[in-house]
Symmetry: C2
Subunit: 265 residues, 2 copies
């Protein structure tokens, strides 16, 4: 089973920590230099066991996104990467003798967009980027480093983010509510969007258990405590309940749109 996740967010926003935490693995990846002049995309593929499924997971990272002093083209390398994967699939699909069954699908199934937890609103870069990508990939925005924001601030921040996305016409992925077996769970999860996440692979003793946490002098943020952040909800939605739907939506909606516009030119 192939699953491809694209992580978009500024350097230091917590992308690699969150990926490690989501899949409970230390993903090896070469650290990138701080002063890369341009945004690049870095991909790594891993073989994992997730519940009882053998998963071929590809994590695509936006490198140096938002680092440039001039960010007006920041989304372009990312958008080009997404379209290139559609194009490669299209070339295979158009062949006379094709092997779609064994084709290694590299199309992006989910784009985790990391929002800086300012507590105010989205940045222009966020709106520009998500607007450029929303018709090409399933966007799942997350509020990064949610341990920066108090409960009261977070409530207002989430409302502000959703209203800015709506007023800017940005489409984000909604967990599907047509399948009865998951409709209730997904509907309730949709009300928590965007998920406010905390990532950590450090283990801290809480009570008599070792839990993933971030330990501060004033207290310990427990990653899997639903009172502390939405990490468990994100994992449930992304890794457990909706992987299949994300793959299908990519194929039947985003890829079809690309194919139609490509073949019409």
């Amino acid at each position: 089973f192939c699953f491809n996740i694209l992580c978009v967010g500024e350097t230091g926003i917590g992308k690699s920590t969150l990926m490690d935490t989501l899949f409970n693995t230390h993903f090896e990846s070469t650290p990138s230099s701080h002063d890369l002049p341009n945004v690049t995309v870095k991909t790594n593929t891993y073989e994992l066991q997730e519940s009882s499924v053998r998963l071929k997971l590809t994590i695509v990272d936006s490198v140096a996104f938002g680092d440039q002093v001039d960010k007006s083209d920041s989304f372009k390398p990312i958008m080009e990467y997404i379209e290139k994967q559609f194009d490669m699939y299209l070339q295979e699909e158009l062949k006379v003798k094709r092997s779609l069954h064994t084709y290694h699908d590299t199309r992006i199934h989910a784009c985790l967009y990391f929002i800086t937890p300012t507590g105010h609103s989205l940045k222009s870069l966020d709106l520009v980027t998500m607007k450029a990508l929303d018709s090409k990939v399933n966007i799942i925005p997350v509020v990064a480093k949610a341990d920066t924001i108090t409960k009261g601030e977070l409530h207002k921040f989430k409302i502000r983010i959703i209203s800015e996305l709506v007023s800017n016409g940005v489409q984000i992925y909604q967990f599907p509510t047509d399948d009865e077996t998951v409709a209730d769970l997904n509907a309730s999860m949709n009300t928590h969007l965007p998920f406010a996440v905390v990532g950590s692979m450090d283990e801290v003793k809480v009570g008599n258990k070792m839990v993933k946490a971030r330990q501060y002098p004033w207290g310990t943020v427990q990653v899997e405590n639903e009172n502390h952040c939405d990490f468990v909800r994100l994992r449930e939605m992304l890794v457990r309940t909706n992987m299949q739907d994300l793959v299908e939506t990519t194929h039947y909606r985003h890829y079809e749109l690309y194919r139609r516009s490509k073949l019409q030119d």
Copy 2:
């Protein structure tokens, strides 16, 4: 006694909260629109009582700094503001009939530069901006929202920041160690630079006292607890021990440099 502070940092990084906390006042200022196309500078002047001194405090805020998609000129409006104040002073100084004694000095005595707590390193915007301003104003960099970073991460982050400032030739303000009465205190404070600060005007009950804090489900960050952040050190250095030195350094070093280059043209 006139004191003028310039705050430079991205929207939502905590500038207004820190100012309120430093001077224990709710400074009134009109909220700025989120989508200002350019960086502007907003100034407000307040009359305060600080210890037994009547203080005419002017807070100059960088508005929408870092919000633009293209940030290459972000520092310019700020640099122009600083130079304009030097120029106005110079015009007064050059008059035949002048009144320097009653002149309302608007020159910036301290620039608090707010660093985003990524835990990685400075952003290109930070280096570009501080490099442009370091010969014109006393720069005091602070790590904002220090409650985002654990003790271990903060230690590495501070070392990284200082080494990047040094290797990029950025001059930051050092608390003076020539005056015996404050030399020891200042020398020890210099080792904590850049100060990692937390701001809050919310009061929370801790023990049997009401203290300024940020309350999270996992614990309460106490602003004035030196184990939690460097807020008390910043207040001590900026508001209590070194205000006079900051005013003098502005006049005898930064202003002199400006005057010399202006009169030589």
